[in-house]
């Protein structure tokens, strides 16, 4: 079975994040790491591979140096990486990014495509549905448990109201939540072998996409301005004079939280 995992390099949690006031994009120049939930996706892909055989391919879009972050997933056991590294793709919104990823995934011809549900940089946390639509594949998102058998995949999806168990034939797209597993530690041999694994870098043109289909030109949304966040409105501090409980109840009632 061929399994693709879409992963992404994000600014490290420790980096003092800022949005570049000129480009209005997140400044990605600092230290970077693999998006944490992507590790859950990689782990699940490795488990499927261990049970059914096959190959795990990492697919990513980002600057050349994103390969450093991908290496962590290669160390965990992914077999190879395909990175779309192209200046023209920078600043892509959902429509443009999903176009690029779908094209890259077509190349991989995966039976199962994994995404990590949340992205720590706030971008792309709805990407899988757009990619699934472009690939014309069924989609299961917010998956907390997964089984693959007999050419189909079954996922337990967490929703606001409980759990849905959803089944779909392969090929399919699955987005996993961090509840699905605990990502493994790379073994020392895995870390040592990661660098030597195949790591292919391609351009947007290599994927057969015109430059105007990606980046800001290919995007349909735009960032207009940056401003300070609104302060938490009306923060109130009171001393308990014996009626604090009543005051809390009144406060909650006013906010319709009871």
């Amino acid at each position: 079975m061929k399994i693709a995992v879409c992963v992404k390099q994000v600014p490290d949690a420790t980096v003092h994040k800022r949005i570049d006031p000129e480009t209005k994009r997140l400044d990605r120049s600092g230290e970077a790491t693999l998006n944490p939930t992507d590790l859950n996706a990689v782990e699940e892909a490795l488990r499927v591979k261990e049970a059914h055989g096959g190959e795990v391919v990492l697919v990513s879009m980002g600057p050349e140096r994103a390969l450093e972050s991908l290496r962590k997933a290669l160390a965990m056991g992914a077999d190879r990486a395909l990175l779309v590294a192209d200046e023209t793709a920078a600043g892509s919104d959902l429509v443009a990014t999903s176009r690029v990823l779908a094209a890259a995934l077509e190349r991989v011809e995966a039976d199962l495509v994994f995404f990590g549900q949340a992205s720590s940089d706030g971008d792309g946390s709805v990407l899988w549905a757009a990619v699934a639509d472009r690939l014309r594949r069924p989609l299961i998102s917010q998956v907390a448990a997964l089984t693959v058998e007999g050419g189909s995949v079954r996922g337990k999806r967490q929703t606001e109201h409980g759990y849905d168990v959803i089944a779909a034939p392969l090929p399919a797209v699955v987005a996993v939540s961090d509840a699905i597993n605990e990502p493994r530690y790379p073994s020392l041999k895995g870390i040592m072998g990661a660098k030597a694994k195949p790591q292919e870098t391609v351009s947007v043109a290599d994927l057969g996409l015109p430059a105007e289909a990606v980046g800001e030109a290919g995007s349909r949304t735009v960032v207009l301005a940056l401003g300070p966040p609104p302060a938490r409105s009306g923060s109130v501090k009171i001393e308990d004079d014996g009626t604090a409980a009543e005051k809390i109840v009144a406060f909650l009632a006013e906010r319709r939280l009871l």
Binding site: T159, S219, V222, P229, I238, D240, A244, I248
Partner: protein, 317 residues
Amino acid sequence: MKALVFLEHHGGELERGSLGLLSKAASLGEAEGVVLGPDARAVAARAGAFGASRVWASEHEALAAPLPQPRVDALAALVEQTGADAVLFAASVLSADVAAGLAARLEAGLNWDLTDLLLADGELIGKRPALGDTVLVDVGWKSAPRLALVRSGSFDPVESGGAAEVEELAFEVSDLSTLARLVEQTQEEASGPSIEDADVIVAGGRGLGSPEAFSLLEELAAALGGAVAATRAVVDAGWYPYSTQVGQTGKTVSPKLYIACGISGAIQHKVGMQGAGTIVAINKDPNAPIFDFCDLGVVGDLHQIVPKLTELVRARG
């Protein structure tokens, strides 16, 4: 502006978040609702009271299960039919997938995680907090239709007393959309929600003084239908299980209400719960940092206040 608002319903009721968004859309221009799935027609008319001029409904069998892809088919057809300028979604597991799928299908721009919508010179603008809510970004669209996903709870429903016509929505189900199917559905178990799912969290820190005091929080949480969480310090001390730890090295939660009891509010804890809608803090140290980022801060003894609070909440039923 003419907006379509995707209205979700559950248990025979339109979702509050959807209605809030509908009211908002109506305040910006013409708003039409869309209700899809079982009982759609029955609940659709309700939307008129919240500003919808018309509500599209479909109970097509492909919409029986809460799956996104058939809904993309329905909305794509409706956008074409109505020429709507915008399609608005209140964020949920389902609606996020529908919105993103629709964006790809229509090659339309989608802005998500918005907390406000407004019109400037007739153009729709969205407000999106970013970088842990330290920046507020204004976002726009280059072309119609404009798709927007709004954070839950951003808008309150406003009853305007209007009435809406309910119209049958006709659309073709694509082959793609029948591939995934619902096998089983389980509702929330009665034992109370986990801290990731809970709308209300009552959390305890070292200020509780002893592990026994957690029983006070459990009673309050039960009365509020919420879950109990803990800080690292008390989990470290063995007072409460690791699975309930909120913070940098524990879980990140965003309930509607977070009641912090005896929690000083160290940054390690803050990063795990600052996304809560409303934060109430009870702490006897008036200088505790938590008072800098809560909505209601109470300086006092939680051992006195919490039991009384539980009683009052219970009394309200």
